[in-house]
Symmetry: C4
Subunit: 215 residues, 4 copies
């Protein structure tokens, strides 16, 4: 705006170049997000519990909150692994790449909000749609990171195209499944939620455990 | 699911390979967990305190919360040291190993909840059982990490079996003690709690201080 | 005070010399700040929502909070990139440099407070002034860091003057724009807010995206 | 307890040896602690403010909370610099050293609580005493770390005694001043608080700024 372009260019080359710090702030945001989720679990009040049976009943009321909690943790874990994979392949960062990841991290901080919304209004197509939009932003921000990294030469030259192909196939594949999930809500939101949870469990646990994969 | 196995295999090899970031997110989650505990200590209200004697009495009401706070911090400290030990022995991580530790970290984020539950309902066997289950998951997730690391060759080849033996003995030994602790609840939950606190103090402080160890 | 100057000198040379830890605590503070912002978004209460239409209306009430949320995240992102750039240029830290950055971090932790103040009282010149003061402290703390780093030889000798010139031009340029923004409040605070948001969007996104820059 | 001493010895040698992770969890705990402090500043309610004058008056009520906030941040900054200095001098960590620092970190997480207590009950000698006790634990935990590091050979051999002497002089010197501060409460707690704030400002800012030091 008020600055000469050549100065901006220098600043952009200098700014945001530290991959280590991008990783550090990402890990911090994921860690806080994952830990803050537990604040959604409120310990039952003293006066409401007079016996072990009371306590079990009170805890059963917490069940939806606990399921939501696990689901959010899973979602955050999946995208943390996805981002870490990309950042570990990148040789350096620049300012544009850093801002793409800051947009990704903005979507990360929204996860506790959208998941809680879905947990509370699981019958609502609006809640399913918002949750899905959050996942869409997460996926396509990672894809944008990969596309930019390839175009700007941040990947090792010989592996760039292969890595981008991997990211593309994974994001498009996953997002297609999530789209099917959200479309299932014409039959009922529970179909959507069940399908999305199944996709997420698959992404988190199915591939790395050979025994389960063979089943 | 919708992806060819060879692609998944490549992704798994690439994904989650960064040991540094696994450590970073772990430290973040432990740090937030340890610090959030202090939110359980509420400063007495202004209108309830008119003298030093009032303040002392109000603070005495906080005593159970303070004990819980110290106990949670101790538990988190013990498992933080345990995980750090394992991660410092591992030469690299992969996706499956990362997810085992994410399950471990999920259990870490539960500690403030289960400890608060135990503090509030210390007379309840259900609360003791839930607290114990949390410790069981923590212990066996660390063990699963060690078993997997040995099987997948993540430890240095010459030290792997020795390290796994160490982890096994330590987890089984500790979990046997915790089991004795939870079984003591047939005589009363206070026996359980006292025994578990004693185990934890031992794990944290007894071994490294030679003077105390000789007593 | 009670200490001999030569001892203090040694302590100062030793203390605060670790650049890595200054980066780490900075990333931690930014990460927590960015994530805590989401606590400002409260999920609508169950009893207030009986249909998708209800939910959409309730969510529309959250719109100002969401805008504030994005604006705070943007502000924190801009200054995180700015600080990271400076720290990646510095070869080492010392105690004075560390304390300059701790003052910067104090201002960082104020951002959620001043932004929320502005969001709630967007008609108030006092709120605009306080928000602006926060940005002034952030900018001039970064400038003070650059000035000190150059004077104390923390930059690489050959690049120091160039780096300082870059920081100066950028801080003075940006602060002049922010000053114009706050002065616009004589016509109405909305003019101020709109202008400041435009400056921030420019700093975050305009420069690195060539397509947009050409428009 | 149930474990052979030789096994424990091996575990102790292996456990807690990672200096990097001790730094990381410390930075995390300090960062969260420093950022959580801002939650003590509540934005005035909409209905209580109809004009700029109202807002200024409401903000003036926040003044004690803001002073407390700055004071806590200062205290945490001082001890963060102190711990960082020690950790950057140590060549490696072991389990006992790690646990000494975990006790230090436990005291760190108490700072928001004890400072808030002092802010709310600034007329109370009990509150002054508790705040002082927190600082005593912080100081002597750092000293214990230095003593242990020297005894266990964690410092570089040639610099160990010098470093320990430095830590001792600094901790004893500071603690003597804090003791004077707490004793001043016989004349009134305000004398204590003013004196302690003066000590802390001196530790944070006086030494590194040559101009001020000459005054």
């Amino acid at each position: 705006m008020s600055q000469a372009p050549e100065q901006e260019t220098v600043y952009n080359r200098v700014a945001g170049g530290n991959l280590l710090r991008l990783s550090a702030i990402s890990d911090g945001i994921f860690a806080v997000g994952m830990t803050l989720l537990v604040l959604g679990l409120t310990v039952p009040a003293v006066q409401s519990v007079n016996s072990d049976t009371d306590l079990l009943r009170q805890l059963s009321y917490l069940l939806p909150a606990i399921v939501t909690y696990f689901m959010s943790f899973l979602t955050l874990g999946i995208f943390w692994v996805g981002q870490q994979t990309q950042l570990s392949d990148v040789q350096r960062a620049n300012r544009a790449y850093t801002w793409i990841h800051l947009v990704f991290l903005l979507a990360v901080t929204m996860v506790p909000f959208t998941t809680q919304l879905l947990a509370r209004f699981h019958w609502s197509r609006v809640a399913v749609l918002i949750y899905w939009l959050n996942i869409v932003v997460l996926g396509f921000a990672l894809l944008a990171g990969g596309e930019y990294a390839n175009r700007a030469g941040l990947f090792p030259p010989e592996r760039g195209p292969m890595l981008l192909r991997l990211i593309r196939r994974r994001v498009y594949g996953a997002q297609l499944l999530y789209l099917v999930g959200v479309l299932l809500s014409v039959f009922g939101t529970n179909w959507s939620i069940g399908f999305i949870v199944a996709i997420q469990l698959n992404f988190a646990f199915a591939p790395p455990i050979p025994v389960l994969r063979r089943i």
